[in-house]
């Protein structure tokens, strides 16, 4: 399914091509040579496979188009529209003082939706915080997402039956546990997989590299999605790392790796589906670098005009994942412009309904803060709890 190739991982410095030995990382780790002799041939670790199916002009490479019926294609479109509607409403609420600080996902809808789409209920998902679209697909009600972002603990645990870790706040801290879940799955002979996402900034964290190495050594059924949106708050990718082909890091660790147009919902879905199937079938981990762009703020506490020229954002408006997919759906008669308007309206209404549920249900529970740390409280902590409850009584807090 490889379409076009980027530059090789390393410039080939060997003058004589035949004098190099080609090695596929991970497939067979060679034992140390019996003779101990050093092999002086240069090593070709291969090239980074890249995938785009739907380009920014809304054209699909028919040879690569995934086998999905029209209904499923329309569902994918709707999921992205819903993700954006949710984002827009959250931003409005936050600006009106009705929502806590949160991390908008605008422009990265294809990443989120595409990586969650191929997952089944027994697969696991471990998200970073910029993962609305994926979490909604995984079964997190939108009112619950509002609840957690507005600072209520009740919103934080995954809903019953949803096999997700809560999203991570400390950058990259959720990637190792995701690999551990995969290691346990493998030991239980469960034919499932784990998808975990993180950003280009997180890829500078040692814990993320350790996670990829553990998964490789263990051949754990894990799919790593590196959402390369170009920015870690104010730090652009070129300040984050020298080798900006993040997928190449997987090759270095012996992990199947691919670079995908992260604004192409068909490529994201296809690459993730293939990686999940390989993982479930014992083929080990995959690293998918999803190239996208953070169109908006890091979080609502951020002001990108301080550090980023808005002109950098403009070209990405043309690459919008929803716009290009909608253009193709319409041109091929799978959707009318009227349909698109209707869907947008329905999604906005769905978000407003979720807001009503959130407002009706969200309730701070100060009396419960001691209830979840241990299976049962040790005596000292129980004494602290009683003192705290007496304090609440004095203040008249119920």
């Amino acid at each position: 399914m490889s379409v076009n190739y980027t530059t090789p991982l390393m410039p080939d410095s060997s003058p004589d091509k035949e004098a190099s030995v080609s090695r596929t990382p991970g497939e067979a780790t060679p034992p140390p040579p019996a003779s101990g002799a050093f092999d002086a041939r240069s090593i070709d670790l291969g090239r980074i496979e890249c995938l785009q199916i739907l380009n920014e002009r809304g054209e699909v490479d028919e040879g690569l188009r995934p086998d999905m019926d029209d209904d499923e294609l329309r569902q994918l479109h709707r999921a992205m529209v819903l993700s954006r509607a949710f984002d827009a409403r959250m931003l409005a609420m936050q600006r009106q003082g009705q929502m806590g600080t949160f991390a908008p996902n605008i422009g990265q809808e294809a990443c989120g939706v595409g990586q969650a789409w191929p997952l089944g209920g027994k697969d696991w998902f471990s998200p970073s915080y910029r993962s609305f679209g994926a979490q909604i697909i995984r079964g997190w009600p939108m009112d619950r997402l509002m609840t957690l972002w507005d600072g209520y603990h009740d919103g934080f645990p995954p809903p019953e039956g949803v096999n997700d870790l809560p999203f991570s706040i400390v950058i990259g801290s959720h990637v190792l546990p995701a690999v551990g879940i995969g290691m346990a799955m493998k030991r239980a002979n469960d034919p499932h997989c784990v998808v975990v996402n993180f950003g280009d900034g997180a890829f500078s964290e040692g814990a993320v590299i350790e996670a990829i190495n553990f998964a490789a050594v263990e051949q754990a059924p894990v799919v790593f999605i590196a959402e390369n949106n170009g920015w870690a708050i104010s730090t652009p990718l070129y300040k984050q790392c020298k080798n900006d082909v993040l997928a190449s890091r997987g090759i270095g660790y012996g992990v199947h790796s691919i670079r995908v147009d992260g604004n192409d919902i068909l490529a994201m879905t296809t690459a993730t589906r293939e990686a999940c199937e390989r993982a479930r079938n014992g083929g080990g981990p995959t690293l998918i670098e999803a190239v996208t762009f953070r169109m908006s703020l890091h979080t609502t506490a951020d002001d990108p005009t301080v550090y980023r020229d808005e002109a950098l954002v403009d070209p990405w408006k043309e690459r919008c994942p929803i716009r290009r997919f909608e253009a193709w759906l319409q041109r091929t008669g799978r959707l009318t412009s009227g349909d698109a308007d209707t869907i947008r309206g329905e999604c906005e209404q769905e978000v407003l309904d979720a807001r009503e549920t959130f407002r009706a249900q969200a309730k701070a529970k100060p009396r419960e803060i001691f209830d979840y740390l241990y299976a049962s409280n040790p005596p000292e902590l129980e004494a602290q709890r009683m003192a705290y409850l007496r304090r609440l009584d004095r203040k008249g807090v119920s």
């Binding site: 603990h153 190792l176 546990p177 690999v179 030991r187 350790e210 740390l373 299976a375």
Partner: protein
């Protein structure tokens, strides 16, 4: 009954846990074929398989982070960090996930796991191999911190730690590993986590200690009785978080004097917490002398040619006990 070293007793507890519960697994550096650098896991990979006694890559953060994930999926991992000085590389995963995932998810994901690691000085080890930083973990909400002092309680406490529903830091006093043998029953035993033991009764002064320091403390107790006519009561904390306040208060209410003796640093150490709890408790009005902390100074652990001067010892206890008994 068989006489066992602490290493053998811990090996027995791990072997029993692996045999009794298929969700238990061990993971760490060099723990499989090599049996661990101290041989605590010797023979366990051959017996229980490489899938359950896992030789991990050399990455402490990776070991703890993946162990957390295994626990989320329902396993009960027992992770070994080769020396407690190297747990700092795993600090992030201990703090962010091991200690608080249960709380973050309102109990949805209990983290039933144990982090085993040898701690403490006295073995002429190279730098970073002799730390006693139990106070870090006692300061971290969500963890329990267990420190055995001899072969028999090591076996019982490790069994209890593996069976516990909460995440446990299990500090093994490496200077005790092969220091002596003790009768350890063949039948499985378990001790309650969070309970201290009064290992020697006395009316004049309470000595609170744990781990490797229990041996010099016991020496001092014997000397105090034989040479100085002072009857000391010796308490082995066994769990330094949560601390068994009740046992401490009962003892100091009786003796009116207290010495806290450990090899961790002084400031914000376990001794500071013990002293604070006594000062806040009903034992306060029974105190007839100030509290004394005998600890390592607030310095990085020194190079081993001077370590015998760095760690507090039995003589320090003798001097402090005499001072407190003579206090007017």
């Amino acid at each position: 009954m068989a006489k066992r070293t602490m290493v053998e007793a811990l090996n027995l507890a791990l072997d029993e846990a692996l045999a009794a519960d298929e969700q238990v697994c061990l993971m760490g550096q060099d723990i499989g074929v090599n049996g661990g650098v101290f041989r605590v896991t010797k023979g366990l990979q051959a017996k229980h398989g490489a899938d359950r006694v896992i030789d991990s890559p050399l990455a402490e953060c990776g070991i703890i982070g993946t162990a957390v994930g295994m626990a989320v999926y329902g396993m009960k991992p027992v992770a070994e960090i080769q020396f407690s000085g190297f747990t700092m590389q795993a600090f992030d995963q201990i703090e962010q996930n091991m200690a608080r995932l249960h709380n973050r998810t309102q109990g949805r994901f209990p983290i039933r796991m144990v982090l085993r690691t040898p701690y403490g000085g006295g073995i002429r080890a190279v730098e970073h191999h002799s730390e006693s930083r139990e106070a870090y973990w006692a300061h971290t909400p969500g963890l329990k911190v267990v420190i055995p002092s001899g072969p028999r309680n090591a076996r019982s406490l490790l069994a209890a730690a593996i069976a516990d529903p909460d995440p446990i830091i299990f500090y093994e006093p490496k200077s005790v590993y092969r220091a002596f043998r003790e009768e350890v029953p063949d039948a499985p035993e378990s001790l309650e986590i969070g309970k201290a033991q009064v290992v020697h009764e006395g009316a004049d002064v309470t000595i609170v200690s744990f781990g490797a320091m229990m041996r010099p403390a016991m020496e001092a107790v014997e000397d105090l009785a034989e040479v100085h006519g002072i009857e000391a009561e010796l308490i082995d904390l066994l769990t330094v978080s949560p601390i068994d306040t009740e046992t401490l208060v009962a003892s100091v209410t009786k003796t009116g004097r207290c010495i806290i003796f450990h090899e961790g640093h002084q400031t914000c150490g376990i001794g500071a917490e013990v002293a604070a709890r006594l000062a806040e408790s009903g034992a306060f009005e029974y105190l007839v002398a100030p509290l004394r902390r005998l600890t390592a100074p607030d310095l990085p652990y020194p190079f081993f040619q001077v370590e015998q001067h760095f760690l507090p010892d039995a003589e320090d206890i003798l001097a402090a006990a005499k001072e407190l008994v003579e206090w007017t």
